[in-house]
Symmetry: C2
Subunit: 433 residues, 2 copies
């Protein structure tokens, strides 16, 4: 028997939840036609406080429930959409929904980054599906391409600008020549950064998204805590000035590479050549470059956040889940590779940009070069920048050839102990795309 109505339950009535509820109701006819069955938003599970929101008035009051048991045990709900964000209680809700054999659609990057593979396997064992396109890159298709369109490929690498807040801040710092604190303030005023911006500026948000993409791309359990990360708060207007002079842009990149059964995953600021595509992705835009052994480099770009863009991805997932409901498709779990292992950050090799404050006297460069040389770090170029006559110090910028993280850490420690080095101002990796 083919179902004629597919019931949807929604958890959460925040900005994303409200927008999704709007799309599901306002576009019900168009979506139902596409699904081949009537799609009906049956219940919205809310907190009592949600009922006072202006958005609540757009919906019939009978849609709302604060009663978990009523919501999860409604036999007419086939698909549950989770849009409250954060790990708990969202994780428990998703688990409970799958346990009750409901298909689940979520935009929750934290839950998927931490528990996605287990939840996918649990969904499969329950005979239902779990979709999470909106967890990475807002409305930009990324999860579905990794799970479907590119799956004949061995994925060699992912390079991603995947956090709009930090990309906005970096764009402002680059274009306006302003310092980090001021750029962050601007982002907060415009609503691009939260009052507590730590998750974004420290790279945690990008870590979650990279964990999700890398796990799918490499069929390997990449946990958030496996991903080395640095934030952007140490960047200085001077770094942008020098980057520009040298022909580079500074971006916060999420990078995942696979070679020789080794996996390399990291999130940190990088110098990338200004003529590359990613260097020119500005403002709150996201862009992900995926390198497959058959397809070559494929780029996906667009607005990475916002309620409308996110509702596009959530609704597409709902339609996919509808197809599963109608065809009783048997969802498959994910088969993880056991051959691969993670490369420790200490062994990862890149070029480096180093900005140092040194004593402006003869022989200083020679001492620095000697220390670097002892750690197998060879110098590609050195430029002496501003000199301060009063303090007799100078700022120098060193670009190195490829060196391991470990060598650089050790060299930096040693340099810091040299009397002639006043301060290590910044050390930033240089990535060749």
């Amino acid at each position: 028997m083919t179902k004629s109505t597919i019931g949807i339950g929604l958890i959460g009535l925040g900005v994303i939840g409200g927008q999704v509820a709007k799309v599901l109701t306002e576009r019900a006819d168009m979506l139902s036609q596409q699904a081949g069955a009537k799609i009906e938003l049956r219940k919205i599970k809310v907190l009592p406080a949600d009922m006072d929101k202006p958005i609540a008035r757009s919906f019939n009051e009978s849609l709302f429930t604060t009663d978990d048991d009523e919501f999860f045990s409604d036999p007419d709900i086939d698909i549950i959409i989770e849009l409250i964000g954060g790990e708990k209680p969202a994780y428990n809700y998703i688990k409970r929904a799958l346990d009750g054999r409901k298909h689940v659609v979520t935009a929750n990057k934290e839950v998927i980054a931490k528990h996605g593979l287990d939840l996918m396997n649990f969904a499969a064992s329950q005979g239902v599906s779990l979709y999470f396109e909106a967890s990475v890159g807002g409305g930009i298709p990324l999860i579905n391409p990794l799970q479907q369109d590119l799956r004949a490929n061995n994925i060699k690498g992912i390079h991603a600008i995947i956090n709009g807040t930090t990309n906005y801040i970096l764009t402002r710092m680059s274009i306006d020549g302003i310092d980090f604190d001021i750029a962050l303030k601007q982002a907060q005023i415009l609503g691009y950064a939260e009052a507590n911006p730590n998750n974004d500026i420290e790279g945690i948000d990008a870590v979650y998204k990279l964990a999700i993409m890398a796990s799918l791309a490499f069929q390997y359990r990449v946990k958030p805590e496996d991903i080395y990360h640095e934030g952007i708060s140490n960047l200085d207007a001077r770094d942008f000035k020098y980057a520009k002079e040298l022909g580079y842009a500074i971006k916060l990149l999420a990078i995942a590479l696979q070679y020789d059964n080794m996996i390399e995953v990291r999130v940190h600021p990088v110098f990338i050549r200004e003529n590359t595509f990613l260097a020119n992705v500005n403002g709150v835009f996201n862009a992900v470059s995926i390198d497959g052994d058959l397809v070559g480099h494929v780029i996906f770009s667009g607005e990475g956040a916002g309620p409308k863009a996110t509702s596009s991805a959530v609704t597409a997932d709902v339609l996919r889940a509808c197809k599963d409901v109608l065809t009783s498709a048997i969802s498959k779990g994910i088969n993880l590779s056991t051959q691969k292992s993670l490369k420790p950050i200490s062994q990862i090799t890149t070029r480096y940009y180093m900005r140092l404050n040194i004593l402006d006297s003869s022989g200083v460069l020679a001492s620095i070069a000697r220390v670097l040389g002892q750690h197998d770090i060879s110098i590609s170029s050195v430029i002496q920048k501003e000199t301060d006559d009063l303090s007799k110090t100078a700022e120098i910028v060193i670009m190195t050839h490829p060196a391991t993280s470990q060598s650089v850490d050790e060299a930096i420690k040693e340099l810091d102990n040299l009397d002639v080095v006043k301060k290590i101002d910044n050390i930033i990796r240089v990535e060749e795309l």
Copy 2:
């Protein structure tokens, strides 16, 4: 009963067919694991001449057949892949496969552009699926995003660089300052253009691809013959020189727009601002920008052709068809909108670049401006370029404000009759992205 083996039949052993056969055999384990059933390439339908190709030696001879009846009636073939290209006999093969209730995967842009909607509906009536991701943009996911990821959106527009041959030629003309004929020769030597390059340089190839994308995006039957098109062979090194001076790039764009229930579809060279994303897509790369009312602008980019990239898309489609085989998914036809209509090219409004050779004497500009003004074309800027003292002629470049195609055609005819206008060198639309 769940099928344990899914049989594949392949039509064609050209460069694409050979590569797909390689992927299906060399990656059989990985693909089978992903499909959840053994994927087996059972038969390759070839022409007798194919058997002499070096690629033929890579496969067991028993795989090959030249017998249509044997091929199409093999009960163990569930999915047929068509990779011979061209309208006939490919169309008949696809029809016959669907008629025999085989799922079909094809990379054939001509067949899909001309018959895609009917074939999709026929497939649905037969209870099987028709997939054609590789028909547009090689390995770049475009069809599946339009059919799945973006379908909660009302699509407002598509702007696409969708033909690698012409984009390569335009890139060479722009960077090297060379003329069209030389750039075409270079493209032919490098294998980026065919011996008979007409389909590419006249925009026919782009027309097919735009017809496919626009039909899906707008749920409207956009036929290839509905699409206005101009090729690139009239472009001159001078146009590129002036474009650069004015801050523009010249690209062959495929454009589809939808507004007020009107649909606008066209393929022609355009001036686009040099700081836009599409202006910086160079060489054989393709890029498609899709504007959805929820998702905003999403960009998909990558290599748009080549056997490996194409095999990535074909294989993804095979895996989708496998899921349909296993779930007995009922394919849906496409519901076409009856509310919409095509806007005639004469009514389409854009800005224009005009390059004219005129008599170098006083009052000439005034006469030209008068003619344009009589046709409601207002001038945004005029630059007098090279002057030839001997012939007493000068070259001028006019940038206009938005005007309809019809006004411009009429004005040009009138200008051409002016004694002071020696030659209309070129007229190119200017597109604001």
